[in-house]
Amino acid sequence: MKATLLKLTRSHLFWPCVTLVLLCLVNVHFNPGFFNIEIKDGHLYGSVIDILNRAAPLMLIAMGMTLVIATRGIDISVGATVAIAGAVAASLIGGSLVIKEGVQTYVSNTPMPLAFAAALFVALLCGLWNGLLVAGAGMQPIVATLILMVAGRGVAQLITEGQIVTVYYEPFFFIGNGFIFGIPVSLYIVAAVLGVLLLLTQRTALGLFIESVGINPVASRFSGISARALVFWVYAFCSVTAGIAALIITSNVKSADANNAGLLLELDAILAVALGGTSLAGGRFYLIGTLVGALIIQTLTYAIYSLGVPPEINMVVKAIVVFGVCIIQSPALRDLLLKHALRSGGPA
């Protein structure tokens, strides 16, 4: 019994899951209908669905961030990339309602697939820039991505010409607000990206190479791994996840705000990775853990709002909870508590 318990607690998913369950219990305590899911207008409806849907952009970016962090890097420009890609998508689609032969029709400025492709391509360019600075020029990741973090919102402003661009094109809202078989579209996107990543990291050598480079870049290079190319593409990929997230966010709020879209999202993404059990020092990484981490953050946000914490202090509450979660997940403290619990627990 003790042995299985110990084994369970050693799993990297154990503590993130415990935290998530605890947060859900808090929510249930203050809001007994927390887990209620009903079917409205043919799709699922409820707090849990809402949390999942809202966490989707964060989950996407956090997955990209996981790979970056696994290579010993960090990308603090993802929020700015969201703003840029969102601005591109919104400006290209724009849209208006016209009456054609007596029927109301939505018309976009640019065909939607093209606008999506453009937004993702711009996001990719952002990633290539980061990758070039980190892997090519050998800059420290935090400094290299700081450049885009600062400059990115300016670029987004240029694209939107300093305005909040509102989208009037019904089909575009589907990504952020639509449902397929009753489940939010955004979750299919998360599942698809997760599927691709799991396939790439477990069925190809990508996972091994990323971990190897993150643990010992020199030894990896000496073994014949092209560490620089790997790092380069990991940054590119991370920005693409930010681009996808930007589409969901823009669709969700039906507009692109260069100043606020994806604001501080990079910090939430890093936090999600850390909560999920991946060390910020690089090496072993856990994608599923990251997803749980992202859900922890969103559930926490939800709890703060539903508890009616005054908005002016909700950041403080969030900080306190995050602090607590990080403390619980610290192996040093955990071992201490566990030892204590097992000793005082007597014959269990």
Partner: protein
């Protein structure tokens, strides 16, 4: 000899848990003399300097400065007493100006403001004393390493030093730069400063030193005037063996003749300034080519050029007669070259990954990302090597960082053998490994060689090089000075070659 020594270290003993680093070490420094301290790795040179500069406290013994006993407790304290040190790694601030670097931490003040005029004037003067004339307001990083080295010396001297300690000041300098440094040192000699010079380069020792102290295994071997000590005598004093051919010339007996007429790898004039002078090497299949030489003679540098880690500035490499460009380890691996680096921890193992993952890493890297070895194949391969090389571990999933040094080395060997290389470069494969594992690894190497593998073998233990090598290329001061038949050679003939005598 007329003068009194300015500094005397007497019977210095220092032990660390489990190791005696210094035992009754002696040192005398005379004003206006350059004194070289020589010794192999682990001889106690750095501990001696650390004791002298207050980094370490000696267990017993005395340090006398101008006849008065001193006990420096820190580098700062030593400097105040007049003992200044320039450490191996230049520890200056590359983003500050030359003048700022010389005066950092003790800027002269004029009222509340820093007196920049005085700083610049005095910095200029301090460098001029070393025969260096540069614009001291320019950023340090704009200057070559040699000038930076001089700035470090100027900084050390700007505090009324009587004794200047230079720890391997020339290790990153090229020849012209070394000459400039020596000019500066001669200038200092005229100013009656006592200089302690630590280096691995024999030529430089003889070019600048007046007196040589030799240490071996923490013990004082002797102090000699440089003019009266021949190179061979110096090497013998350092390695601690007079001629004893009987013990070490013993070869395995079996002669491994080259399998092919044409060398597998043929290197012509391969060189890079500051690393190795243009070198020629031929490495044959089924043969071990040893690189003999003292520490710092360019052995590792040669290996790094061959494996594409550092860029060669001159020369060509031909594999099976066809010229190739090896500008990355990846390309070298593609050509069938494998490299077990000297520093296992930082350049070899990927500590948190399992033994299995470490073993398949190079093979997988060569196959690329998408041709992933199935887990089943990986495990089979790892288990096979664990058995074949006798890696002691409960299973292949244990992180490699938890293995002992010898087993890590075997796993690294397995990593390369899995790629079925044509040439294996072994840089200090037995360093930090117990004697039993050492012999096992040497046997493995020999066995691979008999199967037709070309091997480039580097070790600082000359006896080891002699035992396994078919031929030995002898290096001195980053230059190949000759090649000898491994069967016919003994340690003494190698040392004679290193010393520069005709063998």
């Amino acid at each position: 000899m007329a003068a009194e020594p300015v500094l005397v270290m007497q019977d210095i003993c220092k032990s660390f848990p489990g190791v005696t680093a210094l035992k009754d070490a002696q040192l005398r420094l005379f004003p206006g003399e350059v004194h070289a301290v020589m010794g192999q790795n682990g001889a106690g040179k750095s501990t001696l300097i650390k004791v002298l500069t207050g980094v370490e406290t000696p267990d017993s013994g005395e340090i006398l400065l101008n006849g008065r006993a001193i006990q420096p407790e820190s580098v700062d304290a030593a400097q105040k007493l007049g003992i200044s040190t320039v450490f191996q790694e230049v520890n200056l601030c590359p983003n500050l100006s030359v003048a700022e670097n010389i005066f950092i931490g003790r800027f002269p003040m004029r009222g509340l403001a820093i007196d920049w005029k005085t700083i610049e004037r005095e910095a200029q003067a301090a460098l001029a004393a070393l025969n260096i004339h540069v614009d001291v307001t320019r950023t340090l990083s704009e200057f070559p390493v040699a000038i930076q080295q001089m700035v470090a010396i100027a900084r050390a001297l700007s505090t009324e030093a009587q004794v200047l300690i230079l720890d391997e000041p020339t290790s990153s300098l090229d020849e012209d730069e070394v000459e400039r440094l020596f000019d500066a040192l001669r200038e200092l000699k005229r100013k009656n400063i006592a200089i302690l010079f630590v280096t691995h380069f024999l030529d430089q020792t003889y070019a600048i030193s007046d007196r040589i102290t030799v240490l071996r295994n923490g013990e004082f071997v002797g102090e000699y005037p440089a003019s009266e000590l021949s190179r061979l005598e110096l090497i013998n004093a350092m390695v601690g063996r007079e001629i004893d051919e009987a013990g070490y010339a013993a070869q395995d007996g079996e002669s491994t003749s080259p399998h092919a007429e044409r060398p597998f790898v043929s290197v012509q004039g391969l060189g890079a300034s500051g690393r190795i002078h243009p070198i020629d090497l031929d490495i044959y299949r089924g043969q071990v080519l040893g690189l003999g030489g003292l520490l710092g003679s360019g052995r590792t540098e040669t290996a790094r050029l061959l494996f594409g880690i550092d860029r060669a500035e001159s020369g060509t490499i031909a594999i099976d007669g066809a010229p190739v460009r090896l500008n990355s380890p990846r390309k070298a691996v593609r050509q069938g070259i494998a490299f077990c680096p000297e520093d296992r921890k930082t350049e070899g193992i990927v500590a948190d990954l399992s033994i299995r993952e470490n073993i398949i890493l190079a093979l997988q890297a060569r196959r690329g990302i998408f041709r992933y070895l199935p887990r089943r194949v990986q495990s089979a391969m790892a288990d096979q090597f664990i058995k074949q090389l006798g890696i002691r571990t409960p299973d292949a999933e244990k992180p490699i960082g938890q293995l002992s040094g010898g087993n890590q080395q075997k796993a690294l060997l397995a990593r390369w053998l899995a790629t079925e290389p044509k040439m294996l470069i072994l840089d200090e494969p037995t360093r930090g490994i117990d004697i039993a594992a050492k012999l096992e690894i040497m046997d493995l190497v020999k066995a691979q060689c008999r199967k037709g593998l070309a091997i480039l073998f580097i070790s600082s233990e000359m006896s080891e090089v002699l035992r396994v090598s078919d031929r030995i290329a002898v290096l001195r001061d980053r230059r190949k000075v000759g090649e000898i038949d491994g069967k016919a050679a003994d340690e003494q003939s190698v040392f004679r070659m290193i010393a520069g005598a005709e063998a």
